[in-house]
Symmetry: C2
Subunit: 363 residues, 2 copies
């Protein structure tokens, strides 16, 4: 039995999962409740309330989807996009590409607006890409490149379109204002700046998007109408599928920890850790990859210097120190490292440790 193997205790500084908040870990072991138990329903309601606080929204339709962040992406698309609908997608990384794939499977007429990986998207180009799209979709924080895309300008200029935002790596880490910025639907993941294990996808959708939804989405599991009947957004409690109880306990507790600190304080913590990391990496003589002015504090890409063995460095960090950092994906494989500083990982001690350990390994 592998349970006899020693358990490794990682410092998780890859693109996610991060180290979860201790409160979130402890809550995983909370005694199981049924999905219709009044005590569980109250915890679920509180979880949705807490999600509204971190999303900065009053949307009644704010729920944790029972899957990882990519299930959130699929939920957003299948409920809004049907055959022939025009969807403008900004693509400057892996997750923009994924949006195109998901939208295509919904039968969408996808209009791509590309920017080079490492650069941010031009909001004006997105707004000008089509005269009357149903949806404009963008990734707020591109986990594959460490780039922040501008969202606020898209909300201001979207016209009749619905604005769909991937907030997987931004929610809880950098400012995101669902209502003030005019975002119609957004989704996230629990294992990034929210500091919880992977497994749930917080999603919020406003009345404007709801009025233009697909009545019977191609996905039963991600049908927000049916999910809402259970989650209470319609006032009822009709069984849809069995909620992932322990994960909801954990999200509830993780959000509790985050909100006890304060959302803006958490943004500030991610910002200051990211700045210290960026400065420290440059002091080590390394070059940051993402466009200046659009660098994410929570996910940093750094160019692997010539002559340095990507895989050997990451393996040494993992084996000698138990520190995980991420490699590049797609066209960036072998070219960059991705260093996450999210959730409970986003503390000065981890920045200090990473810089010291990386300096030691590549020094």
């Amino acid at each position: 039995m592998s349970t006899e193997r020693p358990l490794s205790d990682r410092v998780l500084m890859g693109p996610g999962p991060c180290n979860p908040y201790p409160e979130a870990v402890a809550a995983l072991g909370r005694p199981m409740l049924g999905h219709l138990d009044p005590e569980f329903v109250q915890i679920l309601d509180e979880t949705c309330d807490r999600l509204r606080t971190v999303f900065r929204t009053t949307n009644p339709r704010t729920v944790p989807i029972s899957g990882t962040g990519s299930a959130g992406m699929e939920a957003a698309f299948v409920n809004l996009v049907g055959p022939g609908d025009v969807v403008v997608v900004g693509v400057n990384g892996l997750f923009g590409e994924r949006m195109c794939d998901v939208a295509t499977r919904c039968g969408a007429d996808v209009v791509r607006v590309d920017a080079p990986w490492g650069q941010s998207l031009d909001p004006a180009a997105l707004l000008a890409a089509h005269p009357s799209p149903k949806v404009i979709a963008v990734v707020h924080a591109e986990t594959s490149t460490g780039v922040r895309n501008d969202v606020e300008e898209l909300g201001a200029g979207k016209g009749d379109a619905l604005l769909l935002v991937d907030a997987v790596t931004s929610l809880g880490g950098i400012p995101l204002e669902i209502d003030a910025w005019g975002v119609d639907v957004a989704y996230s993941g629990t294992q990034k700046c929210l500091g919880v294990a992977p497994g749930l996808a917080p999603l919020t959708l406003n009345d404007r998007a709801w009025a233009r939804r697909v009545e019977k989405p191609q996905s039963w599991y991600l049908d927000l109408g049916m999910i809402g009947e259970y989650a209470g957004t319609s006032g009822a409690r009709k069984y849809h599928h069995t909620a992932p109880i322990s994960m909801v306990f954990s999200l509830h507790a993780g959000l509790g920890a985050l909100l006890a600190e304060g959302l803006e304080a958490a943004w500030q913590r991610h910002e200051s850790c990211g700045r210290a990391l960026h400065e420290g990496l440059e002091r080590l003589g390394l070059e940051l990859f993402a466009e200046k002015g659009h660098r994410l504090p929570e996910l940093t890409t750094v160019v692997i210097p010539d002559g340095v063995d990507d895989v050997a460095v990451r393996r040494t960090l993992l084996e000698r120190h138990g520190i995980e950092i991420g490699g590049g994906v797609g066209p960036l494989a072998g070219k960059v490292w991705r260093i996450g500083c999210m959730g409970h990982t986003a503390r000065p001690r981890n920045v200090t440790l990473l810089l010291a350990a990386l300096g030691e390994v590549i020094g």
Copy 2:
């Protein structure tokens, strides 16, 4: 903060979740690992091996899908059924109905074969329903009625059709032989007889089904080709989505506990607890609802006697004793109770407790 509220410790005898094995609970709190960490990949591989053992299969494509049991249902259908494909569905409860809904959303031409709720399906009627269906789909253990449907006869007589089986409430609780019975694809849930928290859907699919798959399923999240590239069924480790790490830890440990006991011993334990429960309920003067000879030991339906207040009885059991039992759904709402005895709940002490408590409340 609601964390200051006392935590309730339920005896979960509803239709699921059950009480998870202590090993499965403990593993939820295991230190987080990245989804590409060699230690995690090994645990995932072992989990898939353990699933093969409980499914009684050698199928390489045996994985935990990152969602609850209903995501398993959707994964099975979207990967096998496209527009115009004929699907014969047996319907004698809520989950057969759900199969029709899911298949319809895939564009299937659905041929229903109905039986009254509480009766089992006639395999001959399913086999005769259409001359050349692509898929014959059946729920092995109907959680809404407590009925076991015959699967082995379908495998023997399916001809060219693919046999798709919902094993959500059967896997680990009653005999199920994927390879020996000729089941082409089956899925389950973790929160029933496997004794783990809800959140994952074990799924197995054979080469015969794989050869007739939908090349690009309408769901990106549930695309078994892409999932297999991460889970290692193709030998590679290509990132698809971030696995729900803590839930995989828990499933790995829960399956470890189950297999340490032995699969056949676990079947026997569910059988003996179920028989004791059935006999005890009849001694209390209650009438069992499901057809004799096709009663599930792990999920028992009992007719609510005239003059007995359904909701009041369940509330009293919950509030006085912390025991959850389930109400009826659909046409059985208010007419039956559903009493689960699954996973770690399936122990003589819980049967004894439930019978004593129910006798006290309705006595």
